[in-house]
């Protein structure tokens, strides 16, 4: 029992990471209608920029983090203008596949540039033994992850709730045409959404890299579970993405410990199918009104 409890707690720690990536994906999906399959590689690239700033430029960790965050914001904007914005009439499916293509391109570039030495050991932002909960030692890095996740989600929530920018995002998500009519700069807002989600991704990569190491494909398996968490949570719900992701993390880790790694994958997939079948709108989503 203690073992499963520990597994559950470790699952929450992983689930928070999924949740943070999920936040970025849901935010983009809500305000621009694009399911961003490049979120993982964008994040990894941010991690590599940070790493390269330390090793190639000799910057200290904190400065490298700043460089990486700024660089990913710029990259996010560039992605929006180069990959996403042209030919909006091509349709959602086309644009969704563009994100997959972008993901392949970034992955190929990272393999080329950094693949040879990968994976790289990334310095932990905090050192220390962590805290014992039940049989599980919560490493200091995981505590940091939880704190950062709480801070980011709190900030985003406040941003959406109180700031004019957040208000504009919500208006754009709800009625893009009306938002344009009211003089809200849709292009700039979309670019900003991409910047924010790229920065969020980089934050996750930097938090994750010390334990999972940094390699071009580091985020791939995370992304799959993140998308699953989002579907479980209800596609357009930010709290839903968090809830779904934590559920995925816990279910997966508990099953791995109780049965096997293989079973962990199968049980999460079964969970996905069951939720899709019984509650198509997800746990916190709104049901669709049209039935077919």
């Amino acid at each position: 029992m203690g073992l499963l409890l520990s597994a559950g707690i470790s699952g929450i720690a992983v689930g928070l990471l999924y949740g943070m990536i999920g936040f970025a994906i849901v935010m983009l999906y809500k305000s621009t209608g694009v399911a961003n399959f490049a979120q993982g590689t964008l994040a990894t690239l941010g991690g590599f920029v940070c790493w390269a700033s330390m090793t190639d430029l000799g910057l200290p960790l904190w400065a490298a983090i700043v460089v990486a965050l700024v660089a990913s914001a710029v990259l996010g904007v560039a992605v929006y203008f180069v990959v996403i914005r042209p030919r909006p009439s091509a349709g959602n499916l086309n644009i969704t596949v563009r994100t997959l293509g972008l993901s392949l391109l970034l992955l190929a570039v990272m393999e080329w540039r950094w693949g040879a030495g990968a994976p790289y050991r990334f310095p932990a932002i905090v050192e220390g033994t962590g805290v014992q909960v039940a049989d599980f030692v919560v490493p200091a890095q995981s505590l940091l992850i939880a704190a950062v996740a709480a801070a980011i989600m709190g900030t985003l929530w406040a941003l959406f709730r109180y700031s004019n920018v957040g208000l504009s995002f919500r208006a754009m998500a709800e009625q893009p045409d009306t938002a344009r009519l009211l003089g809200l700069p849709a292009t700039r807002l979309s670019a900003a959404t991409w910047a924010i989600s790229a920065v969020l991704g980089t934050v996750v990569a930097i938090l994750l890299a010390p334990s999972s190491f940094l390699a071009p494909s580091t985020m791939e398996s995370y992304l799959l579970f993140t998308f699953t968490g989002i579907v479980l949570g209800g596609l357009t719900s930010l709290p839903g993405a968090l809830l779904g992701s934590v559920i995925v993390g816990v279910v997966s880790n508990v099953t791995i410990v109780a049965l096997s790694l293989e079973a962990g994958v199968l049980v999460v997939f079964a969970l996905l199918l069951v939720v899709m079948l019984l509650r198509p709108q997800g746990l916190l989503g709104r049901p669709e009104s049209v039935r077919l």
């Binding site: 203690g2 073992l3 190491f213 390699a215 494909s217 580091t218 293989e262």
Partner: protein, 409 residues
């Protein structure tokens, strides 16, 4: 119908363009060697490898063929082998057996021999084709027993199988720290189920116990769940057969969760890689023992050490292995009088306690029935950012015949 003209017109140019495309591709391909043996001409010997150059495995695999290339270049600058230069082509297979097989099909018409590279799955996929066509496949890193047991014509390897290694490591651990319980963790490298079974058999044969095992895909990001299982099971030994960075992640998770076993962490040659050293948490170093095909640090005077000096690869066990294997290949070619594939195989089968890369590889012995060359396994331990050899254990096909290990000086 009204618009059918537009509809039917479109296919004419499509087909024309297509015919041109196929024609252009097709004209590229015919060249036949004019010499007695495929891939050998008066001035050239063509060798090739199918290697994992892309994907998650690339980082740990590529250095072996890179180092081999360096060695062949050196041989060429020194005048080649009996006036023949070595032409070495490496194609990427992305650790995909099907692609490896496709590469072999491009090689089969004009390459003399295949140089071994990373990967049990790829080796298992291609060895039959190579064997049937009589193409030598020299020193792959392979853990699938059917590739070499029983010996297939032309397929030679230096490294012992993982299933033999796990058994040897259990034996070494029990010899050093006394018998106890073991927990086995493997990535799907080679016949991983056999690796678990043979560790289990060895442990029980020697009076120890087997608690459990776990299988984790290569590249697993989070080893915490397995560390928790081990923490619960409290084994004396953890036996692992895992890739370099996976070993590091796993060891780190054990340290983080206070789950390091009481006696030792025992690993196979797969863990002996630069990617382990760059990423492991040294907190557990004193309890880690890996089997290694090569002596570490490598002898200062060894050819390969000198060749790789000044490059990052000099500390990389995989690069050293690659260079040493290439050196063994050029040795074999040099020793073969009339250079045909069959004669090359005979040369290698004739090696007994052969020093091919002194200071790096132990002596190699082959015969017509035994195509695994190594005669002893080095036991290495990580120290900071390097490995150090702490013992040498005799190794033979028959586990029971293996003698006691001797500590290094």
């Amino acid at each position: 119908m009204q618009t059918s003209g537009v509809r039917t017109r479109r296919w004419v140019p499509v087909v024309a363009a297509l015919a041109l495309l196929i024609g252009a591709c097709g004209s590229g391909g015919d060249s036949a060697g004019g010499s007695a043996e495929v891939g050998v001409s008066a001035d050239t010997i063509r060798l090739a490898a199918s290697q994992t150059l892309s994907g998650p495995g690339a980082a740990s695999c590529a250095p072996s063929t890179d180092a081999a290339k360096l060695w062949f270049d050196k041989v060429n600058t020194d005048g080649g082998i009996a006036g023949r230069k070595i032409d070495f082509e490496v194609l990427d297979d992305g650790y995909d057996p099907a692609r490896a097989l496709a590469n072999v099909r491009t090689f089969e018409k004009d390459k003399f021999a295949m140089v071994g590279a990373c990967g049990s799955a790829t080796a298992a996929a291609i060895y039959k084709t190579l064997s049937q066509k009589g193409i030598p496949f020299l020193f792959p890193t392979n853990g699938v027993s059917e590739v070499v047991k029983p010996a297939s014509p032309g397929i030679f390897q230096v490294l012992p199988l993982y299933e033999d290694q796990t058994a040897s490591m259990v034996r070494y651990g029990f010899e050093k720290s006394g018998k106890g319980s073991i927990f086995v963790v493997v990535n799907p490298l080679g016949a991983y189920q056999s690796a678990i079974d043979s560790a289990k058999k060895q442990a029980t044969d020697l009076g120890g116990t087997f608690t459990n095992s776990a299988v984790a895909t290569l590249g697993t990001t989070d080893y915490t769940p397995i560390a928790l299982q081990i923490k619960q099971a409290k084994p004396d030994y953890v036996v692992m057969s895992m890739g370099g960075s996976d070993s590091a992640k796993f060891v780190n998770a054990l340290v983080d969760q206070n789950a390091v076993p009481a006696k030792a962490i025992l690993g196979t040659t797969a863990s002996v890689a630069g990617s382990f050293l760059s990423s492991y948490n040294p907190g557990a170093a004193s309890k880690i023992f890996f089997g290694s095909a090569i002596q570490l640090p490598a002898g200062k005077d060894a050819d390969c050490t000198k060749l790789l000096a000044g490059t990052p690869a000099v500390d990389d066990p995989i690069a050293l292995t690659g260079c040493a294997s290439a050196r063994a290949i050029t040795t074999a070619i040099t020793e073969t009088k009339d250079l045909t594939r069959a004669n090359l195989m005979k040369t290698i089968e004739g090696w007994q306690k052969k020093e091919v890369a002194p200071g790096i590889l132990a002596e190699l012995s082959f015969s017509s029935t035994d195509h695994i060359g190594i005669s002893s396994l080095f036991i290495v331990q990580p120290q900071g950012r390097a490995f150090r050899t702490i013992a040498t254990c005799p190794y033979g096909e028959d586990v029971q015949s293996q003698g006691a290990c001797t500590a290094a000086a």
